[in-house]
Amino acid sequence: MDILGLGSKVDADFILDPQGQRKQIDVKIDDTKRSSQYIYYDGEDVSGTVQVKLKKNSKVEHQGIRLEFIGQIEMLNDRSTIHEFINLSKLLGFPGELTDSSSIDFNFGNVEKPYESYNGINIKLRYFLRLTIIKRFSNNVFERDICVQQLSQYPEINNSIKMEVGIEDCLHIEFEYNKSKYHLKDVVVGKIYFLLVRIKIKHMEIAIIKKENTGTGPNIYAENETIAKYEIMDGAPVRGESIPIRLFLAGYELTPTMKDVQRKFSVRYFLNLVLVDEEERRYFKQQEIFLWRKQDKDTDKTKQSAKQYAHYQRPTPANQSEENPTENSSVNEVLSSENNSDIPSD
């Protein structure tokens, strides 16, 4: 920022966690760059020390030193629209002259941080500290990003997802996922029941799809990203088979579900059940799941290990008719299908 091009005479450092107690997270900035950021939660103080370093035997005249805590949403396809939803400001130094390197403590108390940091395809929600040394011609500006994670409570209602889908007279399946709301380290457990199979299925997989919607009105951008593809069945089942599902979420890069954040964007997740037949036709059903972030505690170790071999247990059936699925049971919902094969369909 030094227009003289002689190199900056001043540099600044943020020391946020002198005791080294705060957790850090490796954040992907773009395809090549990653950086390590401290994790903060809503309502936590953001405090620390700013070190302003001067080159030897130099001095800097300034109009004041200001520190801001900013939360903002950037539209990546439209750099001009930056929406700040938080801006806290503190004056750390009155106008004067800096002659020596100095450290200045600061504290933003109980800062409200209503959203989770997010780095998406078309949108970026970031929190950062910005130190500005105000000068006559050009300011010296230093920024430091932090990562905010939004912790949630266990959802009060968390029903299983259960659905009977199919194609009339070709394929009837019933699938069940044990929950509709999963925390990020959770495991999806479920089962697929085959009630009618008249097509030659080759395999079946489950995919996690992230849908990012940005913008409003005419400028809506929708991005679908397949986060994970997971084969759960090999070969063709026959009527009556049940196939277990167990999908660990912890290994994938997921965020909590975000809805209509500042009316700017939403991030939603879907489980997509895909059956592929021998002609490479794909039959699929997408089902939204709600993801949330659970407080990271050292939970019971046995419980932790038990999920490694968890199986879906059918809740004791409320209505008996479901226990005896018949071929003729009508299809509640139709499986979508698409033809990926290069075989002409006619």
Partner: protein
């Protein structure tokens, strides 16, 4: 259009799987496996578990192929599993050194493809259970459940096979009461595990049958047969669990297996699995679940060869019950025979289209069981035979089973069973045996009869009573009298037919086993019965069957003589026997050859002479004269005549019961007969034999009732002279020399016997004559034999010349 074609090509290459292509595919896959395995081992050496798992997953990815035939997939699987073992060893080692990672069971579940994922999961699960990292019970349950994800038959079968292989040593095999059991699991968990794995594997195996084109059906069935052992291994595992006892087998194991077997409705699976059950589980289990097992048999698919299954079970239990030679193995409360008998009847009833051979085979097995397990209870065996007969009577009364049909073959097999495990006397107690035998056509009856006889002869079974002989003959009737359904024309039942000869020789030999050792009267009965039976057999059979009766009858006369002190009627009985023989031999005279009856007559004469009963002379004379008559009838065949005459002379020389009158008649007749022979050498030789009739032959001195030698010098000399004279007339010089030699020998004999008028001078002149004649004959090879003979004579004489008696003997040679 071109697109369509390309698709077709790719499909046919998938389905066709040419052999060359297969080899190449396998080679490529193995190559990839080796590369990944090498990489895996290298990173494991550097302690990088995660990298190792990655390479292992890549290696396992090769098992996702659909292109290999089951055989080649198996080859690939073997190699992969072997390499996977390295990973397992590495992880186990890590745990033993306390540095095992705890989260691998979860980590491997991130593998995107299910086949590699499950192989890894099983491997880690195995290691974790052994290291006590995760609870055994839960992990076992998890693994067997998760394997459901592989529904492709071939891949699923091999995956579950790997599972079964890995958990082999891990299955809990303890009783429920155990306190620790909740954690480690109990026998019940093991049963759940294997039974689930079994039924899943069976389903996959059965499913293979219905995948693909019908034209490949045969190949598919072949492939399925190659894979069956994979399914069967589950049952083997079950049988190896120590906590499976009869009770658990009956209440848990068998019902579950049967449920799967019955419900899969696949005949290949049903046949194999039933057989497998029979073979892998202990006999005691089968004994206690007979009803359950047999009931399930009835529910099997109609195309299942139920016969083999039942037979296999029966055979197994039969072997068990007779093991170690004891028959104690079957608990008394299990009525093996009744159960099988009833259940087989049910099975037969439930399968209307069951071919008769299968029914017979079942009955055979049952018969085998009853004979071996209930050796002393003939009614069981009899009942089986009766049922068998009934089954055929129900189909069509009194018809024969057509020759050469499978049913006929099975019946033959069935009828051989009692022969093999009983001796014939016990078989005779099975009175329905005969009725079943009668079901058969000629050829099969013949086979069985021959089998019976051979068995009797091999075992040297003695048949001691006339009644048993009668029963036996009833069985063997096929061989004894002409059969209406015999395919051979009667004309072929002659001595020129080798098979017929062999058959009748056997029947004749059988006669030697009819022995009533301590009861001559019983033996007499036997002879009578044989006669009564054999007389219906026709002349061609009598040729074979009568001689043994006759010889036996002669032998019996000796036995009567031996007990003459106890049996005052012995002479009468002998008389009867001789009459019988006379009658039988007389029948035989109708044959084209006289030789046999002639010999039998002469034998009779000898026997009578030996017995020496009151009327022995009459009988002997009768027999002898009959023989002589037969001899006379032989005119025309000079060789046979001279041979017969030799027999007659020899016999007369031995018979001692003739008084002078009969004796002189006979010896004169024979001497005359000798001179009447056609050929000179025959005349000479028989005359030389006749000399003995006048010398050492014995006649009965009527006054002393003792026999004495004839010793008629003149007649002897007359014979010798006649013989000498005849010899001089012979044209053929070598024959003549030979006869001179024989003449000399006879002279030497009588010289030794001190016959007056034969002295050294006579001998010397004969010797000279012989030597002269000998020098005349040529020395070709034929005469070598004669020279030898003569040489031997001279050698003898030289030896004797030392003796005083032979003083003056002149031998120039």
């Amino acid at each position: 259009m071109s697109m369509q074609k390309a698709v077709d090509n790719s499909r046919s290459s998938n389905a066709g799987l040419s052999m060359d292509n297969q080899e190449k595919l396998l080679a490529d896959a193995l190559q990839n496996v080796r590369q990944h395995a090498f990489a895996m081992k290298r990173v494991l050496d550097q302690q990088s578990v995660m990298e190792g798992l990655k390479h292992a997953a890549n290696m396992l990815g090769e098992l996702r192929t659909s292109l290999l035939s089951p055989k080649n997939y198996y080859e690939l699987h073997v190699v992969v599993v072997e390499e996977l073992h390295h990973l397992e060893l590495y992880l186990t080692d890590e745990f033993e050194h306390g540095r095992g990672s705890h989260d691998l069971y979860e980590v491997v579940q991130y593998a995107g493809n299910i086949v590699p994922r499950l192989y890894l999961l099983i491997t880690i699960g195995h290691v974790y259970i052994r290291a006590n990292e995760l609870p055994r019970r839960e992990v076992l349950r998890d693994l067997v459940e998760m394997c459901r994800g592989v529904q492709h038959p071939l891949r699923g079968l091999f995956l579950r096979n790997y599972l079964l292989q890995c958990v082999k040593s891990l299955l809990p095999d303890t009783e429920e009461e155990n306190q620790e059991a909740t954690k480690t699991g109990t026998i019940l968990d093991s049963l759940d595990f294997i039974l689930l794995n079994f039924s899943e594997m069976n389903k996959l195996w059965v499913r293979m049958q219905y995948q693909g084109h019908t034209r490949d059906l045969q190949r598919r069935e072949q492939e399925r047969r190659e894979l069956r052992i994979l399914v069967g291994t589950n049952l083997v595992r079950l049988s190896e669990l120590e906590c499976v006892n009869v009770e658990r087998y009956k209440t848990i194991v068998l019902p579950k297996i049967m449920e799967q077997v019955v419900s899969c409705r696949d005949s290949i699976a049903q046949e194999y699995l039933m057989e497998c059950i029979i073979q892998v589980f202990p006999d005691e289990y089968h004994l206690n679940t007979l009803n359950e097992f047999l009931k399930a048999c009835r529910e099997l698919s109609a195309s299942v060869n139920i016969r083999n299954i039942l037979i296999s079970l029966i055979d197994r239990l039969t072997a068990y019950s007779t093991r170690d030679g004891s028959q104690q193995n079957i608990p008394e409360n299990i009525q093996l025979f009744d159960i099988f008998s009833e259940q087989i009847a049910e099975v037969v009833k439930s399968r209307i289209n069951m071919p008769p051979e299968d029914i017979v085979a079942l009955q055979s097995a049952l018969l085998n069981l009853s004979l071996k397990c209930y050796r002393d209870q003939f009614e069981y065996g009899n009942k089986v035979l009766e049922n068998t007969r009934k089954i055929f009577d129900n189909i069509a009364l009194d018809t024969q089973v057509q020759t050469g049909t499978p049913a006929a073959k099975e019946l033959v097999k069935m009828l051989k069973i009692p022969i093999d495990c009983y001796d014939i006397l016990d078989v005779l107690k099975l009175n329905h045996y005969k009725l079943v035998l009668q079901l058969l056509s000629y050829r099969e009856r013949h086979t069985v009869c021959m089998y019976i006889i051979n068995s009797i002869l091999d075992k040297e079974t003695i048949i001691p009573t006339a009644e048993q002989v009668t029963q036996l003959f009833e069985l063997l009737l096929t061989l004894i009298i002409d059969q209406t359904d015999s395919p051979l024309e009667t004309s072929r039942q002659t001595i020129t037919n080798e098979d017929f000869v062999e058959e009748q020789n056997l029947v004749a030999r059988l006669y030697n086993n009819f022995q009533a050792p301590n009861d001559p009267d019983q033996q007499y009965h036997i002879i009578k019965i044989c006669q009564d039976t054999f007389k219906n057999g026709g002349l061609e059979r009598m040729r074979f069957t009568y001689p043994p009766i006759i010889m036996q009858a002669y032998a019996l006369t000796f036995r009567y003589k031996n007990i003459r002190e106890q049996d005052e009627k012995w002479e009468k009985k002998c008389q009867k026997l001789f009459q019988l023989c006379n009658q039988l031999i007389n029948t035989l005279t109708k044959l084209e050859t006289n030789d046999l009856p002639l010999r039998l007559y002469l034998q009779g004469a000898l026997a009578a002479s030996e017995i020496g009963s009151e009327n022995a002379e009459t009988i002997a004379y009768e027999f002898f004269s009959q023989a002589y008559t037969l001899y006379e009838e032989q005119a025309g065949d000079t060789r046979a005549q001279s041979a017969s005459l030799t027999l007659l002379i020899g016999t007369l020389e031995k018979v001692t019961c003739f008084a002078e009158e009969n004796h002189s008649t006979l010896r004169q007749s024979l001497t005359q007969a000798a001179t009447r022979l056609v050929k000179r050498p025959d005349q000479v030789r028989t005359l030389l034999l006749c000399t003995h009739l006048f010398w050492s032959a014995q006649r009965l001195n009527e006054s002393t009732q003792k026999s004495e030698q004839v010793h008629d010098n003149e007649k002897v000399l007359a014979c010798l002279k006649k013989a000498t004279k005849l010899t001089t007339q012979i044209m053929d010089q070598s024959v003549q020399v030979q006869l001179y030699n024989e003449l000399l020998n006879t002279y030497i004999y009588f010289f030794n016997q001190n016959l007056p008028d034969i002295d050294i001078t006579l001998l010397n002149s004969l010797i000279e004559k012989l030597q002269n004649e000998m020098s005349k004959i040529s020395s070709n090879e034929n005469d070598e034999f004669i020279r030898n003979q003569i040489q031997k004579t001279f050698d003898y004489l030289r030896q004797q010349s030392q003796l005083e008696k032979f003083q003056g003997l002149q031998i120039n040679n």
